[in-house]
């Protein structure tokens, strides 16, 4: 059974009169890999700093295994942090950096020696103990930072965008590495990132944050396939939003929706629907099927862009009413010539049952991009 390790309740924080966190509640389970995902300014870093004790909430409380930590200074919390720029002490060797936390605990020399060696072996840096941080590559510094944080055997490891300074390939390697460490150590990882792909591939659960509120909390699959709102749908992955209108609410838990003049039958969504109501039909690019123009099913449009991606062919289709549709199709083994010409007329449809419905939201959401500085 999942046991709550850290529980945050009603956390509120203002900076210069601006609410960064707004009565936020969150339970973190023992041993899970949980990711705080959101664009810059969404409150994810503030939230992590509060867990570490670098920031204090204006209201609300933080408890760890039943013990109130709200006002405990960072040095007395059984949690450790891996910083975004690693923050390795530049005047100390790799060994001394990793040993720092144990020296502060006044552990005996032999124990420090042994535990530091173990920690360095775990991140495959045994041979680098005598080096100074500036003599290491970014990826190696990253590993030292992790070793330094886990050597104290914390209940929880807090990682503040730890991979953002690494190049693409190294990031991939470190993602796998971090997952391995988390499994081996069995420590709860709280990982902050603005990279939705990273969040989806690494986490047990994802917390999508915006404006100091939790937009959605769920497994990567839930967040991707069943986004709770338009923000999550836009922020996590690419999405086509088709405007729909409820034609009829049928008795058998289905509704008929008019999308671009097509009458499609959908499973009844969680939110209440009535006839004539507008809603969004969400389709991921991989849900889209591009059909021949003479096909009866589908909406007419033409190809305006095609991108060869190796395993998929990604295309952009302009529908007759101007709507842009992103499609991502796997290559068909039986059709080696499968490709599009720009300007080629096609019809657009999708796999039945793969759509996701969201109610129209009262306020028009501004376009937001999830890029952090």
């Amino acid at each position: 059974m999942k046991q709550t390790l850290l529980s945050l309740s009603n956390l509120t924080k203002q900076f210069d009169g601006k609410k960064v966190l707004d009565s936020l509640d969150l339970e973190i389970f023992d041993g899970e890999f949980i990711t705080l995902l959101g664009p810059s300014g969404c409150g994810k870093t503030t939230l992590l700093r509060m867990m570490a004790g670098f920031e204090h909430p204006d209201e609300g409380s933080i408890t760890l295994g039943g013990q109130d930590l709200t006002h405990t200074p960072p040095e007395h919390r059984p949690l450790n942090t891996v910083f975004q720029n690693y923050a390795l002490f530049p005047h100390m060797s790799v060994f001394d950096n990793v040993a720092y936390g144990l020296k502060m605990e006044k552990r005996p020399k032999e124990e420090i020696q042994q535990r530091v060696e173990e920690a360095l072996a775990m991140v495959q840096l045994e041979d680098f103990a005598r080096r100074k941080p500036h003599q290491l590559s970014g990826g190696q510094q990253q590993r030292v930072a992790i070793a330094r944080a886990v050597v104290k055997r914390p209940k929880m490891l807090l990682l503040d965008e730890p991979l953002s300074a690494l190049d693409f390939k190294l990031r991939r390697t470190m993602q796998v590495e971090l997952k391995r460490l988390q499994r081996e150590l069995g420590i709860t990882f709280v990982f902050v990132t603005h990279d939705q792909e990273e969040a989806l591939s690494m986490s047990d659960r994802v917390v999508v944050l915006k404006g100091g509120h939790i937009q959605q909390l769920g497994t990567p699959r839930e967040v991707y396939e069943r986004p709770a709102n338009l923000f999550t749908a836009r922020f996590v992955g690419e999405t086509n939003f088709f405007p729909g209108r409820v034609d009829a609410a049928n008795g058998d838990d289905t509704i008929t929706v008019d999308v671009f003049g097509l009458k499609r039958t959908f499973r009844k969504p969680d939110f209440p629907v009535k006839e004539g109501q507008g809603l969004h039909v969400l389709l991921r690019p991989e849900d889209i099927r591009v059909l021949a123009p003479e096909d009866e099913d589908g909406v007419a449009g033409k190809i305006v862009e095609r991108n060869y991606k190796g395993s998929t062919l990604d295309s952009v289709i302009h529908l007759e009413d101007g709507t842009e549709v992103l499609a991502s199709e796997f290559f068909d083994e039986d059709d080696p010539t499968f490709d599009y010409r720009l300007g080629e007329p096609v019809k657009v449809s999708w796999v039945d049952g793969w759509e996701w419905l969201l109610p129209t939201e009262p306020e028009a959401l501004p376009e937001e991009e999830g890029t952090d500085a």
């Binding site: 960072p74 040095e75 923050a87 002490f89 720092y100 502060m104 944080a149 104290k152």
Partner: protein
């Protein structure tokens, strides 16, 4: 590769810089070295034969005593500057940008007045009937004026007053560079405030401390007009000895030797500073 004549501007700049250094830095220093190994001559100041007499004279207990007393006063000055400057620079790096600009401006304003004039102003404050004594007496703190002027303390006060900004500015620069994340990491790993100060803040600000010491200690031994105005005859600096040898005693070789000793002390401090920076992975001075 293009020849020098094809890059007239580049050539002109290089010639100017090297010429400047050669004539205004290297030549005078070589002259001082040369003078220090010559024989004293009452008529033309220096003459042959070459001799190390001047350096031998430096070991004379009388001058050794002046040198040590001078070093003591300069060290006290440096210590006081450090004790005031370190927390000041720390606080300076913490206040908002606007206040920072204002405070640094206030630090620099005194430079607009000649330091000799400022030292005379200090004399007016420290004199027996000066501002400080009068103020303390009218407040009833003391009954009769204290002897402040012409003491060792007066010299140190004068030196601290003139040299404090040179301690604060390099320290301010290292505190500005001190990333908050280092301190967070230290706390995160279980260190309290004192441990963090000792193990992280002090080592990371050490280059600034040494730069400050370099900029205060050696000038403090050379500012001869401060003891001249505030110190009386017993509180001499090495600078006074050098000045006296050149202007009064007319012993140029000895003055030159004393001055070279100061230069060597400076070189030693710069070397130490370089080492401390290399330790934290920054390039040398």
């Amino acid at each position: 590769m293009r020849s020098l004549t094809q890059q007239p501007f580049r050539t002109a700049v290089l010639v100017l810089v090297w010429g400047w250094l050669l004539f205004l830095v290297l030549t005078p220093n070589l002259l001082v070295v040369g003078a220090s190994v010559m024989t004293r001559d009452p008529g033309s100041f220096i003459s042959l034969p070459l001799t190390l007499d001047a350096y031998r004279q430096l070991l004379n207990p009388l001058y050794l005593e002046v040198f040590l007393h001078s070093l003591y006063m300069a060290a006290m000055t440096t210590l006081v500057c450090l004790l005031i400057g370190y927390p000041f620079a720390w606080a300076l790096s913490k206040v908002g940008k606007r206040n920072q600009v204002l405070l640094i401006f206030l630090l620099i304003v005194p430079f607009w007045t000649n330091s000799l004039v400022r030292t005379y102003a200090l004399k007016l404050i420290l004199a027996t009937n000066g501002l400080l004594n009068n103020a303390l007496m009218s407040l009833g703190v003391i009954d009769e004026p204290m002897q402040l002027l012409y003491t060792e303390g007066a010299v140190i006060i004068g030196l601290v007053y003139l040299l404090l900004p040179f301690m604060i500015l390099p320290l301010y620069s290292v505190f500005e560079d001190l990333q908050e994340d280092y301190l967070r990491a230290s706390h995160d790993l279980g260190a309290g405030r004192l441990s963090t100060f000792i193990h992280v803040i002090v080592p990371l600000t050490l280059p600034g401390v040494l730069a400050g010491i370099m900029l205060v200690l050696l000038p403090a031994m050379g500012l001869f007009f401060v003891p001249d105005i505030l110190g009386g005859s017993r509180n001499l600096l090495v600078g006074n000895v050098i000045k006296n040898q050149f202007l009064d005693a007319r012993n140029w070789p000895f003055g030159a030797a004393a001055s070279i000793m100061l230069t060597l002390a400076m070189a030693f401090l710069m070397f130490a500073h370089r080492l401390s920076k290399r330790r934290i992975g920054e390039d040398g001075v």
